[in-house]
């Protein structure tokens, strides 16, 4: 695992859309872009529960979990995810979240604050280019060594 500092060929990301959310298009593009950038992707697709995210992250020894939420219930769906990661022994896994995270047009600073408070390392507004987030991922992983 990354935490153990082993030499790794490529970062590993678990990807999925959380909750009862079926928005599949962005997920498809994120998976494609991550692979294109040389990242190993475990794509769980849409309608993914917290448990499924964690199980996949444990199984693949993932460096990061990328959660998407588009449909507006992101806040309810994401609560407690960091805590459950810790319980599952992957408390240091990077948690990124992006999409249309809350119901309604909201100043992004508010949204970011709320999700950071829930334990997410990075929070992305709609319209984020996958490339920018991949660059962040490499930076974060480098910083950890």
């Amino acid at each position: 695992m990354a935490e153990a500092g082993q030499a790794r060929e490529a970062p590993r990301v678990v990807l999925g859309v959380i909750g009862a959310d079926v928005h599949a298009v962005g997920n498809r593009i994120l998976a494609y872009s991550l692979r294109n950038a040389g990242i190993e992707v475990e794509n769980l697709g849409v309608m993914v529960s917290q448990e499924e995210f964690i199980a996949a992250a444990v199984e693949t020894a993932a460096d990061a979990i990328w959660v998407s939420s588009l449909y507006g219930h992101g806040e309810i769906d994401c609560r407690g995810l960091r805590g459950r990661c810790t319980e599952a022994g992957i408390g240091r896994v990077l948690l990124y979240v992006g999409g249309n995270l809350v119901v309604g047009k909201t100043p992004f600073a508010d949204v970011e604050r709320r999700f950071r408070a829930m334990g997410f390392d990075r929070v992305y507004p709609p319209g984020t280019s996958p490339e920018a987030a991949v660059a962040d991922l490499r930076r974060d992983l480098e910083a950890r060594g």
Binding site: A20, V22, V25, R28, V46, Y71, V103, K105
Partner: protein
């Protein structure tokens, strides 16, 4: 029970009904006879089917928003605003995503959280949880017809409560509310569940209460070629008609190329009426609904108004019976009532300005329309053949075989082989037709269209085009040209 395209016998229907109404406590309040009487007592102005028929006769395009919030009084305030300030001709009640998954417990939590937070924590109205009486308050609070819009694979209880609650239209279908809206729901299951909804609609019809049923046209809303959504619409129309549905509104999501969009509405009506006639349902009323661009929107509100304007203009020029309106908040979140009103008024202005102009009989439109009809026939006829005469079975097998295949759909039961991309003029064509059963001339046509584009862009036909096209409108283009 095995799936078959036959009218559900009364005793079987009643047996299922008992189960359905028991799924959540509010089901107990549904009393069919009382509901029929209630519906009969509603004023003519509340009847969607009547309003659509009148619009068809007058040749006008009605304007309808999407809207729904967690709590009843807030919903009423919202709908009244959209009626009076938004000048909506028809109103919706959009259902939240938990209800769509039959997760009524989660919806109940959402209602409580919304009360506590003083803002809607749900992305729509949990009609099942609120129950019949509260729904009636909604319908009575406004003076135009209200339709339920959702995305629910198993909408049986929702339909029962909606109809008893006075709503006069119900969106969805066994395919169109499964493939784009579910991951693991088997098609056999959802088709059967929607036969129930259609039969319920038919029972009201037999009591003289005409309720409008609207298959969800846009599917995934993202570069869906017209023939695919048309084929689904035709199949759902036939399945509904068998159950006794007599008022159908068939939908299409704007692609963005005017000729294709006008041809799509023209051909949708033609091909649907052709099949309905062929199967002895010449008495079914068909309306059409044009959805303003359903894919990713630009974030800037002024640019969003541009996209909305084009949707409104295309809807009007196509002569669709109604248009479903987007808002300047589309890219960012569920719109405020003000943003929703703006989308409506911009659309209303354009639709009214263009009501005396039509595009549907130009040569280019007729050619495109003929091609869409031919393609749709390929898809529907193959489904019929695969079903060995039974269209319900055939639809399931067609998805298994990939001869029906919706681009970008989340469902496991969708082949996901088809890839669409825009041609050089922005019409949506097949980059990869997957297993769609098209003859060579049609396949060649699509291929040639994309090669023309590739030449212009000096690149190969390929998946990058699809990605570029998905982002294009959000970035202010229609065709995703390389930069």
């Amino acid at each position: 029970m095995t799936l078959a395209n036959r009218r559900i016998p009364t005793d079987e229907f009643e047996r299922i009904r008992e189960e359905v109404l028991a799924q959540w406590p509010t089901g107990a309040d549904v009393d069919f006879a009382e509901a029929v009487a209630y519906q009969r007592g509603l004023p003519a102005s509340s009847r969607l089917a009547d309003r659509l028929a009148a619009a068809s006769r007058e040749g006008t395009t009605l304007v309808q928003p999407r809207a729904g919030v967690a709590l009843v009084d807030e919903l009423i305030a919202l709908l009244r605003y959209l009626e009076h300030e938004g000048e909506a001709d028809l109103l919706p009640t959009t259902i939240d995503s938990y209800t769509r998954q039959n997760a009524y417990g989660d919806a109940e939590k959402g209602i409580h959280e919304s009360r506590a937070e003083g803002r809607s924590m749900l992305n729509g109205f949990p009609a099942v949880n609120h129950g019949v009486r509260e729904c009636r308050r909604v319908v009575e609070a406004v003076s135009v017809p209200v339709q339920v819009r959702h995305g629910t694979p198993d909408a049986r209880l929702l339909a029962e409560i909606s109809y008893a609650g006075g709503f006069s239209g119900f969106e969805g279908g066994g395919i169109s509310y499964n493939i784009p809206y579910a991951k693991k729901a088997p098609l056999e299951r959802t088709i059967a569940d929607w036969q129930y909804v259609d039969r319920l609609t038919g029972l009201y019809e037999e009591q003289g209460i005409s309720l409008d049923r609207e298959p969800f046209g846009p599917l995934t809303g993202t570069l869906v070629p017209p023939c695919i959504s048309h084929a689904v619409a035709v199949i759902e129309a036939l399945l509904a008609a068998v159950q006794g549905v007599r008022h159908l509104t068939l939908g299409y999501g704007q692609c963005g190329n005017l000729v294709q969009d006008v041809a799509a509405i023209r051909s949708l009506r033609l091909v649907a009426e052709e099949y309905l006639d062929r199967y002895g349902f010449g008495d079914v009323h068909v309306s059409t609904v044009f959805h303003q661009w359903m894919g990713g929107f630009p974030q800037d509100e002024a640019k969003a108004f541009g996209v909305i304007g084009w949707g409104a203009a295309s809807a009007a020029l196509s002569g669709a019976t109604k248009v479903i309106v987007k808002t300047p908040h589309e890219a960012l979140g569920v719109p405020t009532k003000e943003a929703n009103g703006q989308g409506l008024r911009a659309t209303k202005q354009l639709v009214a300005m263009l009501r005396d102009q039509r595009m549907d009989e130009t040569a280019a439109v007729r050619e495109e329309s003929d091609r869409i009809v031919a393609e749709t026939r390929c898809l529907v006829d193959r489904a019929i053949a695969l079903g060995e005469g039974d269209l319900a079975v055939g639809a399931v097998r067609a998805f298994e075989a990939g001869t029906l295949d919706v681009p970008f759909a989340p469902s496991r039961f969708n082949a996901g082989k088809v890839l669409p991309a825009r041609d050089d003029r922005g019409a949506v064509r097949f980059l990869d037709p997957g297993a769609l059963p098209f003859p060579k001339d049609l396949l060649d046509f699509h291929r040639a269209c994309l090669e023309e584009r590739a030449r212009r862009e000096r690149r190969e036909v390929g998946f990058q085009m699809v990605i570029d096209d998905i982002y294009a409108i959000g970035k202010g283009r229609l065709v995703g040209r390389p930069r």
